[in-house]
């Protein structure tokens, strides 16, 4: 076997590096690489499909159930009914699919050893992490919005039977529906950050579930003022303020909720950034 056909101009130290030598160029190239990585494994397609399916499917299921019992519900419950927020409740479960995919974006690289190929190809590790965050955020934002809008419209179609439907033009509704998709994308980034910190898939998923689902329950055991005061700052409840119109008990305003919720994802990414740069791959 000969290899002469492979060689281009100058083999020995004959380095012909690409022109885009700045870190921005490295970042853009790495973004394209991460995009290829993301769409060439099956778990991506599955997780994202499941995200949409759960968000829309649960919206339909709960909405139909709610409407079937509507006439027998007490007045207080009927008055507090938030058709927008209610149609988006499937996000509670769908966030796990996105969050787990976010974890896998990092942890599968460590599990398979591919991280060494990644850092060998792009030794600027911070750039790698940033590219992963940007690409994954954009992908999950698009998918999240598709899921959120679909769930909203499916829900409203069902509520129309009792003339309870909200319109996308009603005050705050567009914000809430957009917020639902955004919530999913940020949970994905939170998972990605946890994956970078923990590196093991199982461990990172456990932390994710604990933060998003378990902690609110635990905090609920605290006596009255404390429980609510702490609970509203947890990622789940804080993020919920994004896609509900009617404020639930002791929830933050959408604006504060947005800041608090995003702070969790940013903190996870920052911690991951420090660790990824410092640790041996």
């Amino acid at each position: 076997m000969t290899v002469t056909d492979v060689t281009t101009e100058s083999p020995s130290g004959g380095v012909t590096p690409p022109a885009h030598h700045g870190l921005v160029g490295v970042f853009l190239a790495e973004c394209r690489a991460e995009w290829v990585k993301l769409r060439t494994v099956r778990s991506t397609m599955w997780s994202l499909a499941v995200t949409v399916l759960i968000t829309v499917g649960l919206a339909a299921l709960f909405s139909v159930a709610r409407m079937s019992r509507w006439d027998r519900q007490p007045l207080a419950q009927r008055l507090l009914f938030d058709p927008t927020g209610f149609s988006l409740n499937g996000i509670f479960l769908a966030q796990l699919a996105v969050g787990v995919l976010g974890v896998l974006v990092m942890s599968s690289e460590y599990a398979t050893g591919q991280i060494r190929a990644t850092f060998g190809a792009v030794p600027q590790r911070g750039v790698v992490l940033l590219a992963k965050v940007v690409v994954f955020f954009l992908v999950t934002l698009v998918v999240g919005e598709v899921a959120s809008f679909s769930a909203f419209f499916v829900g409203q179609a069902i509520f129309a039977s009792k003339n309870l439907q909200a319109s996308i033009g009603d005050p705050g509704v567009l914000r809430a529906v957009l917020g639902g998709g955004f919530y999913l994308a940020v949970i994905g980034i939170f998972g990605l950050g946890l994956g970078a910190i923990v590196r093991r898939t199982a461990g990172a998923i456990a932390v994710l579930v604990a933060f998003v689902l378990i902690l609110p329950i635990i905090v609920g055991f605290l006596p009255s003022p404390w429980g609510d005061d702490i609970s509203k700052y947890l990622p789940g409840p804080a993020g919920n303020a994004l896609f509900h119109l009617r404020a639930q008990t002791a929830s933050l305003s959408p604006r504060v909720g947005l800041v608090v919720f995003c702070a969790y994802a940013v903190a996870a990414i920052m911690a991951g950034w420090v660790l990824v740069r410092r640790r041996d791959a």
Binding site: V3, G13, R32, A117, G120
Partner: protein
């Protein structure tokens, strides 16, 4: 150093080789190479480590290792399993940070390189690949990350013989196919420097031959190749220059011939009906004499002419007088055996053998060669 690198332990009848001092002759490098350098670039060192140390908790994986890889040649990086080869190579491409010391590639830190695949290609583990991704897609993301032309992906796949399975997922690949894919990834950026950690691991004889020829032709194109192995026989066929480490330390460095020469396994075999007369003469002249099973004398420290002269002067009849050169295998075993001893801090005689890892590897190598 509490071992016996300076003195010769008693030679057993079975083991025909003595252990003697080892030349750590770093100046010998300039004379090295049993074949001409294709791209002589004097004074330029492609890879250089200076006093590099890597410690994992209590374990000292690499211990003040200073080594250099000259350009345009195949440099073999030898050592038993656990000697620190892989750790050293991981530090070379910035995956592990040295505890102290420095590592440079083409004069720079690997972490400072932009699009490094154009300069350095590395195969560190065969299966650093996501099992769910096809071979082609694996190379595609690598190509994108370093702005390598997409056509190059199919080119290297053909080159390593994976063109037919390019669209199959890497999880179903055999170890040999994974190894080929790893080599394809290393060649993707058409780099001038290649780092390959145990590239023939898991390959069948045909695959081993293929890697060997590939290394030779890549080297003939003027590329610098740094290839690790624990198989001496393999290195004897592919490497021009050897760096031998054991227990994280440099043991020997030089051309293949020099490494063999630095081993004291070289000896002279003498058959004579009058051994009792000749032996004292040889010892007096500075030789070390032992007797093998058939009654032949094994002499170290004296060369053939000198032994012949001494025999003639002592009027001793000789039936046979022949030089016995150690093989690269023998040299390696001996070099690495010593490295095991001088890093053993426990009492040498009564304590159990230091590390089964360090000891068994060279032995296994030797057995395999025979």
């Amino acid at each position: 150093m509490n071992g016996s690198t300076g003195s010769n332990p008693p030679l057993t009848l079975e083991g025909p080789y003595c252990i003697g001092p080892i030349g750590l002759d770093r100046s010998a490098r300039s004379g090295g190479g049993d074949r001409p350098e294709t791209h002589p670039r004097k004074g330029v060192l492609v890879i250089e480590t200076v006093e590099v140390t890597k410690r994992y908790g209590e374990t000292l994986a690499v211990d003040r290792l200073t080594l250099s890889v000259p350009p345009g040649r195949v440099t073999g990086f030898l050592g038993p399993n656990g000697a620190g080869k892989s750790t050293t190579m991981r530090m070379m491409i910035g995956l592990d940070a040295p505890t102290s010391g420095s590592v440079r590639i083409n004069g720079r830190r690997y972490g400072d390189l932009r699009y490094p695949l154009h300069e350095v290609g590395a195969l560190l583990e065969a299966k650093a690949i996501h099992p769910g991704r096809t071979a082609r897609n694996h190379l595609r993301w690598l190509a994108e990350s370093n702005r390598i032309d997409r056509r190059r992906v199919d080119e290297v796949l053909e080159l390593v013989g994976l063109g037919g399975v390019a669209r199959r997922r890497a999880g179903g690949f055999s170890l040999g196919m994974g190894q080929r894919l790893g080599i394809a990834a290393a060649l993707l950026g058409d780099p001038g420097v290649l780092l390959l950690d145990e590239p023939v691991n898991g390959l069948d004889p045909e695959g081993i031959l293929w890697v060997r020829n590939l290394l030779r032709s890549l080297s003939a194109e003027g590329r610098t190749i740094f290839v690790s192995s624990h198989l001496m026989s393999e290195m004897a066929l592919t490497a021009d220059y050897l760096v031998v480490i054991g227990r994280g330390r440099l043991i020997a460095e030089g051309s293949v011939a020099e490494v063999i020469a630095s081993s004291s396994g070289n000896h002279v075999l003498v058959r004579t009906p009058d051994a009792s007369t000749l032996a004292p003469l040889l010892t007096e002249a500075g030789g070390e004499v032992t007797v093998d099973r058939d009654g032949a004398l094994l002499v170290t420290g004296l060369d053939c002419p000198r032994v012949g002269d001494l025999a003639a002067a002592g009027r001793v009849t000789l039936h046979e007088l022949s030089p016995r050169l150690a093989s690269l295998e023998d040299a390696f075993m001996e070099l690495t055996r010593d490295s095991g001893e001088f890093s053993n801090t426990g009492p040498p005689a009564s304590a159990p053998p230091p590390s089964p890892l360090a000891r068994s590897a060279p032995v296994a190598t030797g057995e395999q060669a025979r």
